[in-house]
Amino acid sequence: MDEHNYGYNLSISEKTKMVPWEEKVRVVEEVKSDFRFKEYLFGCLNCGVCTASCPSNKFFDFSPREIVQRFLENDVEVLYDMMHEYIWACSQCFTCWIRCPFGNNPGGLVAIMREVAVRNAFEATKELLKPYGRVLLKVMTTGNQLSADMLQPDLFPDWGPKMADIMEDLKAKRLAIPFDIGKSVKTAWEVSLETIIELYTIWRETGIFEMLEKLDPNLYNVIMDIVEENEERYQKLYEGEE
């Protein structure tokens, strides 16, 4: 995607320019018609508290204030363009929301924009979700993608140098904790069948499966195989009880 220096040097990507105006309006209206939208956007005095508090702003070309301002201006062109790359730099920490003197929720606006981008199967979201195929597979089929023991410091260099020492001899340290946490370490992967079936019901009712089918048909097929298998298992179990 092209550079997006929205401030004074407005530069809209070529891809966005080629999209028909009506389509851009439709997508932005889809964001604005979300039931949360009116609770996330009030007024703005451009005080900059959100952007000054924003951890992503330190590292990326991303400003929550700019998102709020573009919505207040109803700048369809920029908003549509932002949904392809710009908004994906947000870390969803919601410090902007905690600090905004107006009570705006720029992080929440980003969440809606992301959902609309995924629902509309934007090319950018496909690209962005590619590295998360394994995570999606695990979360969607079992509801859980990590067990405590998987968190190893050599996989997370951003934890800093002291973490390796802290993580040493975890078994002994866990035993020292005066209540039983050993259980959750072992059973992180073992989600009960009832829970899994409930999860699939939620995915189905909220249109998550359909969304995934549009985004990544291959991953969708793999996941649906597992889903059907589990559902069959549950069915048999249920019939047996009857």
């Binding site: 005080c47 900059g48 508290v49 952007t51 000054a52 600090r99 009570g103």
Partner: protein
């Protein structure tokens, strides 16, 4: 009909009311909960007052002296209103010292209190000694006569004023969405006072808007920049941290005019405090049944009257900071207007 008037509060507005009532020959009872008259400027040792750059004793001294010596005015210190019964024109009031009086009219001048900046935890007040309030800066000048960093007693090299602390902020709830009105002008004055004494100290004002309205614009906004080199940077301070490496504070903000986020070192940070209705104002509103703003809880004038000192209760007049943020000279004027209205209400035969 009772001919005397009760004035509640001995700050600028209450003094204004009591002095004009005394001058007009109306028997007046002035109750003040603290042990001396003068209100916040005196009790909190303000240094110089906006907009005329006079000392509290120059502005309020003559009022206090006259109120205390006028035989028409009975001053009752360490005294509060506890109950009120009766009809407009003859209110039966009970005071905390056990006295009861029948008064024809009441002037409410119960004032404000400063915002407690501990409620904005990200600004580090109470955590870092070099984060102080503008009230503490006033007292540094008025009591100690010098500027210093509380952490080490040294003269700061860089001083920042953080505007709108406890004002215009929905994060604190609907109670603090109003503007404090005085902060921009007072900060301009305090910044100039620093530069006058210590020309080498760099002073920065972090603002969202600068509201030195009316005739205050030139002396409290242009003069600090043009004559003293005070720097105005647009952006609300998001957080204040401390760096042990150099022992200095860091203020974090986005310069929303040149669009650059920044974290800059400061030696002293001054929080410009908002104004809230005082506990006394809220209490008196309940006792007298006065209308309050649903958000801020400041007293509001009668909807039927165009005058802003006429309350929703006949014979009760409201003046000064109990109605919302206000400067000291306007408080005095409102008190005087309320006093005159009260004199008319009780049908006093004016002796001039």
């Amino acid at each position: 009909m009772a001919k005397s008037v009760l004035v509640i509060g001995g700050g600028p507005a209450g003094l204004g009311a009591a002095r004009i009532l005394g001058r007009l020959g109306v028997p007046t009872i002035l109750v003040e909960k603290e042990d001396r008259l003068g209100g916040s400027p005196v009790l909190n040792s303000y240094y110089t007052l906006i907009p005329r750059k006079l000392k509290p004793e120059q502005v309020l001294g003559p009022y206090i002296k006259e109120v205390e010596s006028n035989p028409n005015v009975q001053v009752k210190l360490k005294t509060e209103l506890v109950a009120c019964k009766g009809e407009p024109g003859s209110y039966k009031v009970t005071l905390s010292n056990g006295e009861t009086h029948e008064v024809g009219a009441i002037v409410v001048a119960t004032g404000f209190e400063h915002f407690d900046p501990r409620r904005k935890g990200e600004l580090g007040y109470g955590l870092y000694p070099d984060v102080i309030t503008n009230l503490e800066l006033e007292q540094m000048f008025s009591k100690e006569g010098r500027l210093y960093r509380p952490s080490n007693g040294q003269l700061p090299k860089r001083v920042a004023f953080v505007f709108c602390v406890g004002s215009r902020d929905r994060q604190l709830g609907v109670t603090n969405v109003h503007c404090c009105r005085y902060g921009c002008a007072l900060s301009g004055l305090q910044a100039m006072e620093i530069k006058q004494r210590y020309p080498d100290v760099d002073v920065f004002c972090y603002y969202i808007d600068v509201r030195t309205y009316g005739t205050w614009e030139y002396p409290f906004y242009w003069a600090p920049q043009e004559q003293y080199g005070v720097r105005y940077i647009r952006g609300r301070i998001a957080e204040i941290t401390y760096s042990p490496a150099d022992g200095r504070l860091r203020v974090k903000h986005e310069d929303t005019i040149v669009q650059r986020p920044a974290e800059v070192p400061m030696d002293l940070v001054v929080l410009v405090l908002g104004m809230e209705p005082s506990a006394g104002t809220k209490k008196v509103a309940k006792i007298l049944g006065l209308a309050q703003d649903p958000n801020s809880k400041f007293l509001i004038p009668s909807e039927e009257s165009g005058s802003n000192i006429v309350s929703n209760k006949p014979g009760i007049f409201i003046a000064g900071a109990c109605k919302g943020p206000i400067d000291i000279e306007s408080s005095l004027s409102e008190g005087e207007a309320a006093g005159a209205e009260a004199a008319v209400f009780v049908g006093a035969k004016v002796t001039v």
